[in-house]
């Protein structure tokens, strides 16, 4: 399903970037990083807009919006779609799907939402490690394996 998954910290620096898939001239780890990086712009835009919504008085709907951590499709390119998710502590989870692969092009919003929720759970598990300093890059191989699995499971 996904070709790349990224966990991005509060300060917008990458905590984890994992990708699978073939390395071709147009689709390689670096190109995915660019995608994830630029996705942050769209992601932050969403956050800001949801914040301002919350500031406005007709709050209830906005508040439920705010509570929804899944931000949906952030933007798309010819070849990829980038989805976003943000935790309450402003850890950003980004998932990139490839529109050229059969499974990626056919993906449903709900699937992405589930995948990102699972990623959130994995992330939470990973940083529960008492030896992990919050804000450090996630180097856990278990996390890596699980995330790769998450990406593959749906491919």
């Amino acid at each position: 399903m996904a070709v790349c998954v990224a966990v991005i910290g509060k300060d917008n620096s990458p905590l984890y970037i994992g990708g699978i898939g073939t390395d071709s001239s147009t689709d390689n780890e670096l190109s995915r990083q660019w995608l994830v990086h630029t996705a942050l712009d769209a992601l932050e835009e969403r956050l800001v807009s949801s914040n301002t919504n919350a500031g406005n008085a007709p709050a209830n709907a906005a508040r439920t919006d705010l509570r929804d951590l899944y931000l949906g499709l952030l933007y798309s390119t010819d070849t990829h779609k980038i989805y976003g998710y943000v935790t309450n502590t402003r850890i950003k989870l980004v998932l990139v799907t490839s529109s050229t692969s059969p499974s990626g092009s056919n993906i449903r919003d709900a699937e992405v939402r589930t995948a990102l929720r699972r990623l959130h759970a994995l992330y939470a598990d990973a940083i529960c490690n008492p030896f992990h300093l919050p804000g450090d890059q996630i180097t856990s191989s278990k996390f890596d394996k699980q995330v790769k699995n998450l990406m593959l499971n749906n491919v």
């Binding site: 509060k10 300060d11 917008n12 620096s13 630029t38 712009d41 010819d78 092009s105 056919n106 919050p134």
Partner: protein
Amino acid sequence: MKGVDSPPTSKEGMTNKPIVTCAGDWNLFCSLEAPLVAAIPQDSCEWRRSFGRITKFVYLEASFVKYNKDKVHSELNLLKRPILHIYWTDCVDIEYYKTTLREDIEGWFKQLEKNNITDWMIVLVETYDIRKTNKLLPRTTVLDKIKGDFAVKQTEDRFISVINPIKSEARSAESWRALVAKLRHLVLVSYNKTLNKFEEYMREQREKRNDPEWDFCKYFILQEQLAFVLEMLGLYEEALVQYDELDALFSQFVLNSNITESPKWLDTFKQQITSWQAIRLIPTVPLHLRELIIKRKASLLDFRSYLFQRQSAMLLLTEKPEEVASRCISTVHNTLVELSLLGAPSIEGAAASWAHLACVETLRVCEACTDMQAPLLHNAKDKLHELGKLCGLLPGSPEPTSEQLHLVVMLSAGMGDTETNNKSPTVRLKEALCSSTAFQQYYLELAELAMGTYKHIGRLRFARQIGRDLAAFYSELGETSKAVVFLVDALRSYEEQGWNELAAQTRLELVAAAKKMNDYDRYTTLSARIASTVELEILVRNFYFEEMIKSIKQNLTEKESVQTELNDCFHLIATSLLPSERGYITDSKVQCRVVIESFLPRDVVCTRGSICLDSESQIDKKTPVKNNKTDVSVGTQASPKKSSDDIDPSNFVTSIRLDELKPKNPLLDPMHITSKLHYKEDKSLQKATIECQNPKMILKRSDSGKYRKPVPPARPNCEMCLFCDNITIKPGVNEIIFECLPKKCGIFRVGVMCLSVEGKIEFISDVLLSTKLGFEVVTQGVTVYLNKVEPKKDLVAGLEHDMELVVTNGSSRLQENTTIHLRASTGLHLRYGVNSLLSRELTIPVDASEPFHTTKIPLRLFAVLMPKREKNIEHTVWLTCPWLDSVMEVPLHFSPPMISAWKLLTSNTRKFVHITLKSTVGHLVQLVLSEPKLECDGNTTVSDLNPKASGNLKVSSDGTTASFMWELLKDPLVKAGPMKATFTVQYRLENEDISRTFTCPFDVQDCTTLFVIRTKLEPGKGSDFCRASQVCCLHLSVQRVNETEYTSLMYEVLADQTTWAVLGRTAGVITMDSSTGEPQNVTLDVMPLVAGYLPLPTVRLSKYIAANTKDLKKDISTHPRLEPFSPGQVYHAGKTKQVHVLAPAPKEHLDITV
């Protein structure tokens, strides 16, 4: 409009008005058509729909056609099918109705029924007749007749009469309004029915979509009808829903075709793509495309164009241009994906042209919403780049080949030549494809605009990405300097946010640009940086390492050096100042250990490393105290009191790990959370909360100041540095010792660090600036002490003492030919070397020596013993040293070796001198005395009464004294006067051979005995013994033994009142006869008070100077006065005589005798 069967498709833009047929009196209708058509859209009508759909108010339009009984329209053709049938008549004559009209209406009705049509209306147009209205009860009218004939249940309202507005406008208004309202109502009722039916059919059709025979195009046209109707009714959103459903359906088919077998109809869309005209966002229906779809000749692009145009039209009608923009992007992306999925053959670049044009066209629509413009521009720019690449228009590419030129022609042809408008995107694109300059101009325009727009809406990362594209473009264009600007910007933002790999990539691009520009400084530093980027592959790193070395050797030979940040290639781990035994002293080495990690892939030679030392200038200059006094020890130094904490050297640390400098991660702090239970007034629990005590501490922003532009640290330019030279830095952790010799003292802070690699690249770091790493350098000056060799012993004048001159170098080096000049105060002599002479001034050479060396120079010191009886003798030595500005003063304190005391003793007229010597020196000194001598001046001689073996006499400070005695032999013929005598004795220390002379002079005055007093006690008369309490007789005789001018003398008997009682006068004046030596005798009665051996009462003799009675004027004193004699002038012979006094006689004895 009046055309019976004018196909709606032929009309401009295809407006789908509801079709209403007119039967009956066509001419009548024609007279009414114009006002009717005008009247219908004037007001809205409520549209009630079944299935609980929302009731809407819609504005209607209608087109009227003549009823044609032969033309039967399918129920499924929503557009061409008449929606309402009206029968018009103006018959007022019942008879005519009965004969003709009724039949006609019946025939019409039958036809309608045959076609299953229930939406009809019969209008009776009446002419206003005043007569009629005047009648109270209307007669049965034609309308009533018609109703009676044709009406069935619930259709009564379909019969309506209207007063002809043409003939009597004023009266007709009300009925006319009723007609129009009814017409609207019935049209909507009909629509409701029809649409429900249609939708049902549509659903049915859709359910069949998996049939092999099912055709999407057919279905599309079918469902689109619904959209048209909804659009016509003004329900644009619902119309859009229809299109969206179609869109989704199509997309799903295409996507599924990839997985499962694709249906046959999909082959339509796999056909060769020949046209990629720009979409046109206009509200009218692009009929040529629709025609293609109907004919199944639409390519995928045609279909997508059509669909998007319709969707946009709906959106624009609902005023949502921003939605158009966002849909444009997704449509373009989807279409491109679909193209590849379907594999529709086309020439290369067709899709890109299409996508580009779609984006640019959309841009024109949504000029108002900048938010959406940026992605469109971005996309348009990307596609243009793709085209440029295909057509060989990119800068740096060779001249376009003939194939490429052909491609340009093909692409241009595919775009069509619909417009001549210069500004149209199609025209621009064609122009751009024609020449590379036009292309470049267009590309740059789009890119700059996209970047600017991204920046405007705050999407900096996108802007940076376009910046990178631009950089690549400019780089190809040869304008590398422009490229560098973009790359540097991008690089900085990646670095700031920790996207190391992206930064590394950008650096690779930047290094290529630098090479192109021959910017060797940048090239070298970037090569170094890249070589130490761990994210990159080792081969790349090694390559750039070689490049760096090569560049240093080839390109930077003439330059001085290039500077870059230390952090690029090294990581400073820890720094510590090595402790020094004596503290940090000028001219002694200060060492600083620096632990750095090198990321460079290989060993590198650091030709020179330096750490700048910033001197704290605020600190006052007086701190280095030069020690002038011998008794003040150096080293204790008053720390500058007025300086703030910041520069207080005690606040300095000497060792630091750079990890510690990082701000503490607030997430690691324990959160102070407490739980609280809140109770209501009735003590029941209201709520339980957890509260964070200091949310601000935990929730404070930590990412502010993120976009600070990093200022490359300037190369230090300071006077003092810690240095290290020629050190090989290995990959990984290295330890480097930096050293310096501070020449001046002060407080120094470790500042900018600079490693010069291969002599050319200087890696500079200012992280240490923020640390409080520092030290204080003090000067320990040269000190000179004049010390006693035996410090516990006092200095004794008259004895030679061993001293030493101690020169402590401190932190400085003593140069050769250094001399110290000593000058002593008068009476103090110095001797340097064993055999040299004693002198008051000395010049002592000091050998050259290393710092912290102590030179001891032995000296001997001798204070001349003055013939004074002072207890303390003070001397001073002045030292003149080359390193001191002033003369150093050393006070010295001496004590005399012995003190002499003398006494004059008298025996009658003989005189003796008694001299005692004792030592008061603090420590034990034993002096051997010899050759005592007393010399008197004038005619007095002395006779030595001392034992001849007096050479053995000793004086010691433990209390041993020595005494000497001489008798003064005076010539009696000479009149005695004041006499000077000098006592000399030779003394030496027991263990020394050299004897020195001790001299003590003294004066003797009035020592000649003038009078001798003799006293005698005799018992009273009649008794033989002296008894206590019996009066005795004291005989006092004063005899002159030498000539004297004093003749009047007063005697006083000074008796001890406990032993003697003097009866009568105790004093009296006697006058000595100067010519004779006869003694004067006085007798006094005294009574001893106690028995025993009693000393006789003493007699004092004084000069009596009588009151001057003769000459009152001369003498002030009118009273007599006494003057004492000098001790030696009166000799009291009986001074020590004692008399035996018996106890008083018993009283009984007296009584008996009486």
